[in-house]
Symmetry: C2
Amino acid sequence: MPLLNRVDADPELFRALGDATRRVILDELTDRDGQTLFEICGRLAMKHGLTSSRQAISQHLAVLEGAGLVRTRREGRYKFHHLDTGPLRALVERWPIDREAPP
Amino acid sequence: MPLLNRVDADPELFRALGDATRRVILDELTDRDGQTLFEICGRLAMKHGLTSSRQAISQHLAVLEGAGLVRTRREGRYKFHHLDTGPLRALVERWPIDREAPP
DNA sequence: TTGACAGGCAAGCCGCTACTTGCCTTTACT
DNA sequence: AGTAAAGGCAAGTAGCGGCTTGCCTGTCAA
């Protein structure tokens, strides 16, 4: 096991959040959960003019799934993607966050 | 302005959190706030056997400061580093996180 | 059955970034 | 004054990661 893994928990989660396109995908799934790959591609292009190809988005979804942020459900030739913010709890509990907004 | 910046807020924050060494630095500052560069280097080496050079840590601190996660205070030839988890609030408010733990 | 649709796999390219190396500036101590 | 300590700057290197390209698999409809 690499050295940092004993100290640094779930690096895949942070790596997944490290990319802007993946974050926008999470936003998109927050807005409408359970989309297929092609739906996501289409809506990202419509809403934000993003030019990412289908393979790019597919790889991003794989990373998000690897981090546990996205769960998939197959149905025939469709594959629906569902948001799972569970792993984010570990993130908010790692460092002390003041819950109240500062003045 | 690049395309994604209109959609994706504070990319520097996520980029800062994207590196494992930087996250361990945040842990270290959580444990003992207001350390100098050399203190951080020494304690990371002691506690976790990390081999990062002084310059590496210095650059990491610069990134963290750029993301607003670390604030610095000069005093003579010393420079103390203080943790600021304020930017993390934007992160936890971006996606819906179930506050209760699942069974 | 044939074609279109939704998605997967694998290799290659390229830019970003973490890290090193070497040298410099400023501050403190004796 | 001279030396050590704390830190900064800048250029160069190497490896990872995002994206493309091309082709392949499985599923539904006409």
